[in-house]
Symmetry: C2
Subunit: 278 residues, 2 copies
């Protein structure tokens, strides 16, 4: 676990609160979006990338009105509780329409729940990796965005402890790796970093995008979106995954394949720490 | 709309309340189940079918502990508010684990939200039908159960008003009809009633099951699970759909095809009313 269970604080629609109002279509249907951000001494990291994905989800779900600024949504929580060195901030933004039933209507009413959790900084050791039997379904209308329908990730993550590994690969229904249960997946072949395409399933992580759009080049690698097989992963020079909470984590072992050197993951991790002022 | 907007009452974990406690994995990930029941003068209809589906979902999502009895969960709400002639009761049952992240853990903690909405009885006229562009993804691990990840249904239902129809057919990604946005779909060919298989996607409705397991035979028809094409639907002798709120509703028109006689839908509707003492 990357964090000690130090407890969370909640803000609901701008006010500190321990409960959220009913009805809420987020709770009823998962009709909403979320973003999970790293906050360092009160400052949200890579906010523009979170905002871009949030805006894409807002459009994909057909939310009414203008896309809110995440910086506005999170301001009350950060103003009240910004002295901690490192926190994880989750914004959950859902439709709040009061009519019963699936049809979302065209109201701009919404609920916004902020969860702020203190994170105890800890460099994670290289991970052991397994494969989840949960195969992600193809749904191009929802692929890439960070919506609230996450049962596939929940079922996959539940298999980590059952398999005795730190993380599991999630494949699509053709058996192609897409991601890991809680982040994006990369392999290295020489200087090339490959991460699966996400047009049919998966979540387009902000760290993944940051690596693709510059950080890889800054550290001497060439990153691109390209699908690969589990066999290619076994034969890769290096494997790592990334998310907001852990940054970049190298993989030590997958089945009987082990990796001792993880130069790309190390270089990217250091670069993240530099950028974040850590 | 089958109901007047008469407002809803809420019970949370057995107490009347207008808000639900945080954190809730139902709200965070759609990590939970729901059932929507028709309550006639305080009595929940077809409770054993709802219980069966709830139990199947409880197992599919890997919830810890014993399957709760829906009758226990809904008792406080019904005891407090059972004098109305007809109500819709929604039970939302979600994992409440407090750790951050997708992994569900093995706690039996949960939240249970009951929404009780008065329903103004109104016989609906035969429906106009369109086809949604939202194609349901295949996910055998979640097919059939009534979990909280319902964005596909939300997006499909949103197209009803855009298309100017009462209901839309949802197909799978091979273009085969699976259901309608808010219920199950049947076609009639002579005395045969066909409804699509739900092993890959869709929700196994309680009314659908009741028709398949006896009510069709009671009204002189032979019902079975069998996939059919949109062309077969166009050429069918009759088309109807069903759910808890509306019972059975005949289809009047799909594109340029119209149906004037709907004997199976009429017979099933009357039979439902008799069984429910309406």
């Amino acid at each position: 676990m990357p964090e000690a269970p130090l407890g969370s604080s909640f803000w609901v629609d701008g006010q500190r609160s321990a409960s959220s109002p009913l009805p809420d279509r987020g709770q009823e249907f998962g009709d909403g979006l979320f973003e999970t951000m790293l906050v360092v001494q009160g400052r949200p990291m890579l906010l523009h990338l979170h905002q871009d994905r949030f805006a894409a989800g807002f459009t994909a779900l057909g939310f009414a009105g203008r896309v809110p600024e995440l910086s506005d949504l999170i301001a009350p929580a950060l103003a009240a509780d910004s002295q901690l060195p490192r926190q994880i901030l989750r914004v959950t933004y859902s439709r709040a329409a009061v009519e019963r039933g699936y049809a979302p209507g065209d109201s701009v009413d919404h609920h916004c729940v902020i969860r702020l959790t203190e994170l105890s900084p800890a460099r994670l050791s290289p991970a052991t990796l397994g494969v989840s039997t949960v195969q992600l379904s193809h749904q191009p209308l929802l692929a890439g965005i960070k919506h609230l329908n996450r049962l596939e990730q929940v079922l996959a993550a539940a298999q980590r402890s059952a398999l005795g590994v730190d993380e599991v690969i999630t494949c699509d229904q053709q058996g192609r790796p897409v991601a890991v249960s809680s982040g994006n997946l990369f392999i290295r072949q020489g200087e090339a970093l490959l991460t699966p395409r996400l047009g049919q399933c998966g979540i387009a992580g902000t760290r993944r995008r940051h690596i693709l759009e510059g950080m890889a080049a800054d550290t001497g690698f060439v990153a691109s979106e390209e699908d690969f097989s589990l066999d290619a992963l076994r034969n890769a020079d290096e494997v790592f995954f990334c998310n907001t909470v852990i940054g970049v984590r190298p993989v030590a072992a997958f089945e009987d394949r082990c990796w001792e050197e993880t130069p790309a993951a190390n270089a990217l991790s250091e670069r993240f720490d530099e950028e974040l002022g850590l």
